[in-house]
């Protein structure tokens, strides 16, 4: 494998007795869009600040293109940082804000003007160059901050929850815009977020953080379909976790006996070893409701506890006597009145086994 653009090796960070990052290692390839996803307080910002040079790690090392950068001050690290509150300089015009990193690098005046113009066009705010940040909307400020972090063509772009302050619609627009820029310019991006759908939308890879360690790292598809731990399964999207014991393992399939006594067939992940206590994760949208199981391999006879209309789907709460389930049901199929008897069925391919 080629030298990674960024390498974290056994990074540890403590504040007093509080260990915020705990022996974390991570390689990020050139041109990769990686999201650090995790709940608040899990150490994402801290890792980003260690990378940018604003915090120093208690232990471990950071490499950029094969060169160790731990000792470099922030202003010599060649990283474009987009802060959550944008951190635009309020006393400078938009153009001066964007020109700032170029001036710091001693770029010639004429070239600065040229590059500032290109950066503004890139974020479609060419007309705003003479305004002050306070005269722009939140979304526009965000774009300017992005343009400022990109204009000097840094080795890596770091973003710490950059879209957190925007409303939903604008946020989704910006997600797509940033993704497009990433692909067009071949940027290496480290993107911090606590919003799992944002991470799924934008990333090449997602690193799921929990209490200072990476619980799992992988593509959005891997993370969503094959969560490695209970934490990941619960943090990424909504899921049903059913307790059971592995009865048999045959090739890539296994049979799990559930607490209620019924047996279901599941994909055998690494966690599936005979008589191991496991959790079976089934996504709510993978469960089908009907009078019978049809062609689907697994069936659980259940009663409808509650059913809530959500616009694009029905959210149905079930109980099979031993477990509760959540099901996202197509709203065009039948209504499910409270107390109705129903068969919940799902494919073995949609069941994923996690060590309990």
């Amino acid at each position: 494998m080629a030298i990674p653009r960024i390498r974290f090796d056994q990074i540890t960070k403590s504040y007093g007795s509080l260990r915020v990052i705990d022996g974390l290692s991570l390689d990020i390839a050139k041109g990769e869009f990686i999201s650090l996803l995790g709940p608040s307080g899990s150490g994402k910002t801290t890792l980003l600040m260690i990378l940018a040079g604003f915090e120093s790690a208690t232990g471990g090392g950071v490499w950029l293109d094969g060169k160790r950068i731990d000792h470099l001050p922030p202003y010599r690290r060649d990283m474009g940082v987009v802060f959550q509150n944008y951190a635009l300089f309020p006393h400078m015009t938009v153009a001066d804000n964007i020109a700032f990193p170029l001036q710091m690098r001693g770029v010639r005046k004429a070239e600065i003007a040229e590059r500032v113009k290109r950066a503004l066009d890139m974020v479609q705010l060419g007309a705003m160059s003479e305004r002050y940040p306070a005269q722009l909307s939140g979304g526009q400020q965000q774009r300017i901050a992005l343009a400022r972090a990109l204009v000097f063509e840094p080795a890596v772009v770091l973003m710490d929850e950059p879209l957190g302050a925007l409303d939903k619609q604008l946020r989704e627009q910006m997600q797509l815009d940033i993704r497009k820029l990433h692909m067009r310019l071949g940027l290496t991006v480290v993107f911090v977020t606590h919003d799992q759908s944002e991470a799924l939308t934008m990333s090449d890879r997602i690193a799921v953080f929990n209490k200072g360690i990476i619980e799992q790292i992988g593509t959005p598809r891997e993370i969503y379909d094959h969560p490695a731990t209970r934490f990941v399964a619960e943090f990424i999207g909504e899921t049903n976790l059913i307790e059971g014991t592995v009865e048999r393992v045959e090739a890539d399939m296994a049979t799990v006996r559930l607490a209620g006594g019924s047996e279901i067939r599941v994909q055998a992940g690494t966690a599936a070893t005979t008589s191991a206590k496991v959790l079976v994760s089934v996504r709510p949208e993978r469960i089908h409701l009907g009078p019978d199981a049809g062609e689907r391999g697994n069936a659980l006879r259940s009663t409808v506890v509650d059913s809530v209309y959500q616009g694009d789907h029905l959210r149905v709460q079930l109980d099979d006597g031993a477990h509760g389930f959540i099901v996202r049901s197509d709203r065009r199929t039948a209504e499910w009145p409270q107390g109705a008897a129903v068969v919940a069925s799902f494919q073995p391919e949609d069941c994923w086994v996690i060590a309990s």
Binding site: A52, Y75, V81, N85, F89, H91, F100, Y132, L158
Partner: protein, 397 residues
Amino acid sequence: MSEVSFRQRVGALALVAPLALFIALFFVWPLVTVLKESVSDATVSHALPTMVDAAADWNRQSPPTAAMKAALVTDLRGIEDQQLFGDLVRRLNSAQAGFRTLLPKTRTAVDKSRETTAPEAVDLEEIDKRWSNPAYWQAIAGTLSPFTDQHLLAAVDLSRDGTGAIVALGADESANLTILLRTFWVSALVTLVCLAIGLPYAMLAAAMTGWRRQLLLGAVLLPLWTSLLVRTASWYILLQDNGLVNDALQSLGLTDAPLRLIFNRVGVVIAMAHILLPFMVLPIYSVLITIPKTLMPAAASLGAHPLLAFLRVLLPLSLRGVASGALLVFMAAIGYYITPALIGGAQDQMISSVIAFYATGSANWGMAAALGIVLLAATLLLYMVYGWLSSDKTARA
């Protein structure tokens, strides 16, 4: 409809009335009084009432008219009040030296001939030769108006000569301008010292959190709770030849002999800067804490060396606080009296001590008021400059 709105308006007026009254009573009225005091000059017109009419159309070039001479005699004979006569003599003498002897002599003479000679028949030049000198008559005519710019002019070392033209006073006659300039210079020095200490101090306080910040702020605020006199007196003790400061310097081996720190400019600047430091620190601090904490890291991530980041980002953003702090300190400093009086030497007295001298030492309220007006004008001018500076784009952003 209009009934209601009228009552509402009266109600609203009633609400602001106490405030308006307060302002009028404690700010406007004293100012107007001081202003009036500085330009009023009613002594001569009051003591010589007929002279006012008689000299009304005199051109001040030709010899005095007979009517003026008669009026002077009439008025001198008419003065009963010794106090008023004393004031008159003093006032005229200040316009033209010689009146101190001339006027009592003339008054005695015309009083003696009160029964025998009519005012028109009195020959003033026979009583005293000086009455043939037009300068004396010009002096009288020049002081007849109940208003004068004499004090205001004198406050900046100017006066009017016999013909009414404005001329500069000689260096030996008045030192107000020198003292005013010294006042501004000392105030500027104090402001600079406060800035040099206050700006880094405020930045440190703003960068700290928790009890460290409270401690730093408390340390600047504490002196505000102590009387000005006490703080000045403690500097008096500290700065003496065998005071704490000199002892410390000597025991550290930094100096061999005591430094002269008191009764000179150095002591005045040290003591005033200490007393006024809170007025520099607090405005800067209040601006600094509104600056987002991420701006400096942002500048660093964009490639700015900390020094450059400071110069390009933090400093410009704190300028508003620096301007208000500097203005506050300077304006407070130009009015200082106690500290220069106790710690300064003769060459460090500021304009307030001159005002105090006129007000309490020589009861010349006109001069005291005029000097006060000059200070007020300087302050207002500064304030306008500040308003103009702070209304530019940086403040808006």
